[in-house]
């Protein structure tokens, strides 16, 4: 029986793949060096492809493999209860969650940077309620801007000590001024 070259090559490929092993083909290989060369070439190409795939699998990060195995394990043993389901969900969509968190952080940072400046209060660098308390030695003496003591007399005394200044406003009713 005569075979076409394509048919013969197909049989050789099946032999190389271990799918065909008959006596006739073995005999043909013994007497046909070209067929043996083709078989050797097929084995070599197969090795190259295997080697390439192994190298590619080595490039996949261990963490990704671990996640894949966890997912497989999880599918084999489906989580029960709400918390394991939540954990499984986060595990499954970890990259999405991280992407979302990073995006949120970036947007939040942008919002913080681009937000409009606070209105000018005329008090640079101060938040409401925060007044700079200077060291006692650096404080200026109190200044009396206005003093009204209806029906009496006002006396202003400025006391200084290591704690700072004290403005004493002494009000004496008119009828007791003489007692001062």
């Amino acid at each position: 029986m005569t075979r076409s070259p394509v048919q013969a090559d197909a049989e050789l490929m099946e032999h190389a793949d271990g799918e065909r092993d008959d006596a006739e083909l073995a005999e043909r290989l013994n007497r046909d060096p070209a067929a043996r060369t083709k078989i050797a070439a097929l084995h070599e190409v197969g090795e190259l492809v295997r080697g390439h795939l192994e190298l590619a699998s080595d490039d996949v990060p261990d963490a990704k493999f671990a996640a894949m195995w966890r997912r497989i394990d999880g599918q084999l043993d489906a989580p029960r209860g709400a918390w394991p389901r939540v954990v499984a969900w986060f595990d499954r969509y970890r990259s999405h969650v991280i992407t979302g968190a990073v995006s949120a952080g970036a947007v939040a940072a942008l919002a913080l940077v681009l937000r409009p400046a606070a209105p000018d209060t005329g008090l640079a660098g101060r938040a409401g309620g925060a007044i700079d308390v200077r060291p006692a030695a650096l404080r200026a003496s109190p200044e009396i801007d206005a003093l009204d003591t209806p029906g009496g007399t006002g006396t202003v005394i400025n006391l200084d000590d290591e704690d700072g200044h004290t403005a004493v406003i002494w009000v004496s009713p008119a009828d007791t001024v003489e007692n001062l």
């Binding site: 949120a104 919002a111 209105p119 206005a146 009204d148 200044h165 004493v168 009000v171």
Partner: protein
């Protein structure tokens, strides 16, 4: 992309947007300018034994010096803390009479300009005063009473 993944992306996108809105909206509304003030109301008199209420520890050193050394017994009548908003008259409850305090403005970031009014027990105004004082310093109002007694009001703001 599967439906589940698409919905999770949409959820995360919404979460990011929500967070951004929260962050931009969470900026505290500009607080009004305020000063935190502490008020001590005291009575002073002369007695056999000197005594100063322990609560008056913060002004004790001053009370032992002239002109307060006129007296030797100081009693705390009331103590209050007030957050004064700018140009808002704040009533101060006293045991004797009444008082108000107003933060006129903050000067040079470290001083407060305060207006204080005091009325005696009969509702008669004794004093109306505006003083600019450094944060942490004191203003003490003294009202001389009959029988050589005194009614004191001490304010300090920061």
């Amino acid at each position: 992309m599967s439906e589940a993944r698409r919905s999770s992306f949409a959820t995360l996108g919404l979460a990011a947007l929500g967070l951004a809105v929260l962050v931009s909206g969470a900026r505290p509304a500009r607080a009004d300018i305020t000063a935190e003030c502490e008020v001590f109301e005291m009575s002073a008199k002369v007695g056999d034994k000197p005594s100063i209420d322990p609560e008056l520890q913060r002004v004790e050193k001053k009370l032992k010096k002239p002109p307060f050394s006129t007296w030797n017994q100081f009693t705390l009548l009331s103590h209050s803390q007030k957050a004064l908003a700018k140009k808002k008259v704040e009533p101060i409850n006293l045991k004797i009479g009444s008082a108000t305090a107003t933060l006129v403005e903050i000067v040079d970031k470290s001083k407060v300009r305060l207006t204080v009014t005091m009325e005696d027990g009969k509702g008669k105004q004794m004093v109306s005063n505006t003083t600019t004082v450094e944060a942490g310093d004191h203003v003490i109002f003294v009202h001389s009473l009959a029988n050589n007694e005194g009614h004191l009001l001490s304010l300090t703001c920061k």
